[in-house]
């Protein structure tokens, strides 16, 4: 079984780092993994998305037409990718910035106001990405939370290591929102 996840939002939301964390965590667990970014020339704003594939087998195409999971962080790309998600897939919706999620046929939907959660519980909207990733990891079980936490020092550059504990807490807070019902 190959897990294909698209994370989509705008520049500055930390979309790439979410995907890289998941990819490194899967690598730590000895799985095959590919991370592929897509972004515009803008440093802030514009669109940003990345694809992560996790598999026990060797991975062919790094490009996914029908992901199992879409983690939507912003309305911009959410509308574009939502119809592509596999019928029995998982839609994760950051309701702080996305409204009007047309429910997929049989898709499971996990709605989290990630910006508000990050702001009120963590004191920084900038870890909204970690809240969503934490929820995804807990809901899907694709990798263990321990692997994601262990990947933090590898993915964050040394001058950002002072934020590891904040990211750690945001990931764990996100996991509390993983109930699908």
């Amino acid at each position: 079984m190959q897990e294909e996840i698209i994370m989509a939002g705008t520049g500055g939301q930390g979309i790439m780092i979410m995907g890289q964390l998941l990819a490194h965590a899967a690598l730590l667990e000895g799985r095959n993994v590919v991370w592929l970014p897509s972004y515009g020339p803008e440093a802030r704003g514009g669109t940003a998305d990345c694809t992560v594939m996790v598999s026990e087998e060797e991975i062919g195409s790094p490009v996914s037409a029908n992901p199992n999971t879409l983690i939507g962080m912003h309305q911009l790309l959410f509308d574009r990718f939502q119809p592509d998600v596999k019928p029995d897939g998982l839609l994760m919706v950051n309701t702080s910035l996305i409204e009007g999620c047309a429910l997929g046929d049989d898709c499971k939907v996990l709605s989290i106001p990630a910006n508000e959660v990050a702001e009120s519980h963590m004191g920084s909207v900038r870890v909204a990405n970690m809240v969503m990733l934490g929820a995804y990891v807990a809901a899907s079980g694709v990798v263990s939370m321990e692997s994601v936490i262990a990947a933090l020092p590898e993915v964050l550059p040394p001058h950002r290591h002072k934020f590891i504990s904040l990211n750690d807490k945001a990931l764990r807070k996100g996991a509390e929102f993983a109930n699908l019902d």
């Binding site: 993994v33 790094p62 029908n66």
Partner: protein, 341 residues
């Protein structure tokens, strides 16, 4: 690590000790990581004032017998063509990486394969070729860069890594060997100080036509040797296939999944992946054509490599083409639908 970083690690392992570059997306990680690793390796890193300056710095370093390289993306590589022609004319080894993006012109920063003609047919003026290798994984960004340096030295000719925004930007696991096989020959021709010997003179200027013809024949003889010894390719499920997909780089990866999807639909599909684009694996394609295979070439271009496939099979097989342009990347499903149709 990212493909672009793996390329840098390969170059450092290959004892490349001079890098000259100029920023352009999607290859910016190459100079970024070079600036990190090259000083520790005791080499030279210079961010040049332009692509033209960078390739001519490579010309200088290569003249001195140093393993040297530059990297860029499509529009920047176009600017290096004059320099590459001079380096090929002067018969010097060097490596150039092209992490292709959308064109023509300034195009965009999305993945494309529109520079195939430029890479394999020479690119600059005069009768020369680049030795062109096309990685399809982050691992090959490392391994083929090492090979490119060895081939460049072996044939005293520029070698090119023809990559793209997908292979350059994606993250995969890589195994970095403790030691790579570096075949660095003696370079008695190098202009590295004439202590105790006569001077060495490196040029691509030969006024007398007789001399220049002889130089050209020497260069062509090298390409004949390369065609004999340096053809590299990989095949997947070709034996029982009715249709063989032909693709390189990122498209070969996508086609591998498309092949699997097509087989699930009951279509006997195989995949042929040229690794060396020059020299091109013509003989093997001709064999497959003689064995009754049909071909479908898939590229992120309007149809460039497909011309070499058609030349290879020389009318002996049907050769279809499917391509997307401008940075659009077809999914495995899209290609499968083309095949099954």
């Amino acid at each position: 690590m990212k493909g672009n970083e793996a390329l840098v690690r390969g170059a450092i392992a290959a004892e490349c000790r001079a890098f000259f570059g100029y920023p352009i997306t999607p290859q910016n990680e190459v100079p970024e990581y070079m600036s990190q690793y090259m000083p520790d390796a005791g080499g030279v890193f210079i961010q040049a004032e332009s692509e033209v300056a960078a390739i001519n710095m490579v010309y200088g370093a290569a003249s001195a017998g140093i393993r040297a390289m530059t990297s860029s993306s499509s529009p920047g590589v176009s600017l290096k063509m004059e320099g590459l022609s001079y380096i090929a004319g002067a018969q010097l080894p060097c490596v150039v990486a092209n992490v292709q993006r959308g064109g023509p012109g300034l195009g965009n920063i999305a993945p494309a394969q529109g520079d195939y003609f430029q890479a394999v047919k020479g690119g600059g003026h005069g009768d020369y070729r680049l030795l062109v290798l096309a990685p399809w994984s982050v691992q090959e960004m490392h391994d083929l860069t090492v090979l490119a340096f060895n081939l460049a030295d072996k044939y005293r000719n520029p070698a090119m890594i023809l990559s793209d925004a997908i292979i350059g930007q994606m993250l995969e696991a890589v195994e970095l060997p403790d030691k790579v096989e570096n075949c660095i020959p003696q370079k008695p021709w190098a202009a590295n100080g004439a202590k105790g010997r006569g001077r060495n003179y490196i040029t691509s200027l030969y006024i007398a036509p007789e001399t220049l013809e002889r130089i050209n024949l020497d260069i062509q003889a090298k390409y004949r040797q390369a065609r004999k010894h340096e053809v590299r390719y990989q095949e997947f499920m070709v034996d029982d296939a009715d249709i063989v997909l032909v693709a390189y780089g990122c498209m070969a990866r996508i086609c591998r999944t498309a092949m699997k999807l097509s087989r699930e639909k009951g279509c006997k599909v195989g995949l042929f992946r040229p690794i060396s684009l020059f020299p091109f694996p013509s003989e093997r394609l001709a064999e497959l054509a003689a064995a009754g295979k049909r071909f479908m070439v898939v590229e992120l271009s309007a149809g460039q490599m497909v011309e070499d496939v058609r030349l290879s099979v020389n009318g002996a097989a049907e050769v279809d083409f499917y391509g997307r342009l401008g940075g659009i990347v077809p999914s495995p499903v899209e290609i499968m639908e083309q095949v099954v149709r």
